[in-house]
Amino acid sequence: MSDIERELEEELHRVLDPMSARPIPPRRSIQAHRTLKTLMGGAGAALTIKVLTGVAVAAAAATVAGVATTGSLNPAIWGQRVSQQVSSCQKTLAAGQHGIGDCVSDFSSQHGAAVASAARHQGNGNSNGSTKGNGISNGNGNPNGNGNSNGHSKDHLKVQATTPATLEPEASDPVAGHPPARITRGP
């Protein structure tokens, strides 16, 4: 036996013998440990993560569906409103009068103003139509309802989107910077 082997044996016994002499603990319960291990480690942990992810995705899907069916950001709802407005405009036409363009245009510009207002509150909203994201509405009645919150929460959009657009005609001079023109008959 070489020196290194002899030294190794002495050293192993010197260190390990006292430690091995400690009292023998009771054998660990298998069932409890197994359950904990299933929950906390290995495939169990992966399964737990998958289940939690599934729950989170389902919750998110439900929220999005709610916004889509209740908010006016949905193009389908906006389309229904336009159809109703067209019918309404046709009914109000006097006999022999033609063209509902002005009537529908007024309604569209109201919607644009409403979306632009929402964009103003959000700071960088973009209605993706003629209503610009910087909050300026040009009122040509072509907002398609594709609001872009640019990272803002859906709930925030939802609150603003459910505010019904009024059918009041927009002031022709919203800035009110000009005095009304007065026409008088000349002397």
């Binding site: 290194i4 030294e7 044996e9 390990l16 013998d17 091995s20 023998i24 054998r27 660990r28 440990h33």
Partner: protein, 185 residues
């Protein structure tokens, strides 16, 4: 048998039973007896293979859990302690692997702060030689411990580890050579 080596006379513990115990596979009382008879020897092996005593104790419990789950399939013609040692070494290899992953995570979490060392009261008083053994690859360290602490022959180690006898001789030679280099002898 495993208990015939003279090197055991040097150590007070663990002493093997004079006559080999007989166990019935699947028997609950026999497994409890096996646990009482072999726990200390398995723990001794594991202390040499893993970092500290609490980890070794945890690995020992894990070893007996795995053994219990397969107790009904153990064949009495194979030495039961060799079978337990094979399980224990696999547990130690697993633990070392997880330890490396944990250490990598801790390094990232600490971001340069000094790592807290293990509780000194729970770490064996280790010489340079013992520390060098602990740093060997687990299979080499296991061969050394089985040979020089438990006194197994190469054939018995080969049976315990499930490898050819030549592989055991090779692992022992490599381990000794490595120790000599590390210790500068």
């Amino acid at each position: 048998m495993l208990e015939e080596e003279g090197s055991r006379e040097k150590g007070v513990l663990p002493e093997p039973p004079v006559e080999p115990e007989r166990y019935e596979p699947g028997s609950e009382p026999d497994f409890e007896r096996l646990y009482r008879n072999t726990y200390r020897r398995i723990l001794g092996t594991l202390i040499a293979l893993v970092r500290d005593v609490p980890t070794a104790e945890d690995c020992a419990q894990e070893t007996f859990e795995r053994a219990y789950r397969n107790w009904s399939t153990w064949r009495p013609d194979a030495p039961v302690e060799a079978w337990l040692h094979r399980i224990a070494i696999n547990v130690a290899i697993s633990d070392r692997r997880h330890q490396r992953i944990r250490q990598a995570g801790e390094v990232i979490r600490r971001l340069g702060r000094p790592a807290p060392g293990p509780d000194p009261s729970l770490v064996a008083e280790r010489s340079e030689l013992f520390r060098a053994v602990s740093k060997l690859p687990t299979k080499q360290a296991a061969a050394l411990v089985l040979r020089h602490y438990h006194g197994y022959t190469n054939r018995e180690i080969a049976a315990a580890l499930g490898v050819p006898e030549q592989t055991v001789a090779s692992r022992l030679a490599t381990a000794r050579k490595h120790l000599q280099v590390v210790l500068g002898r």
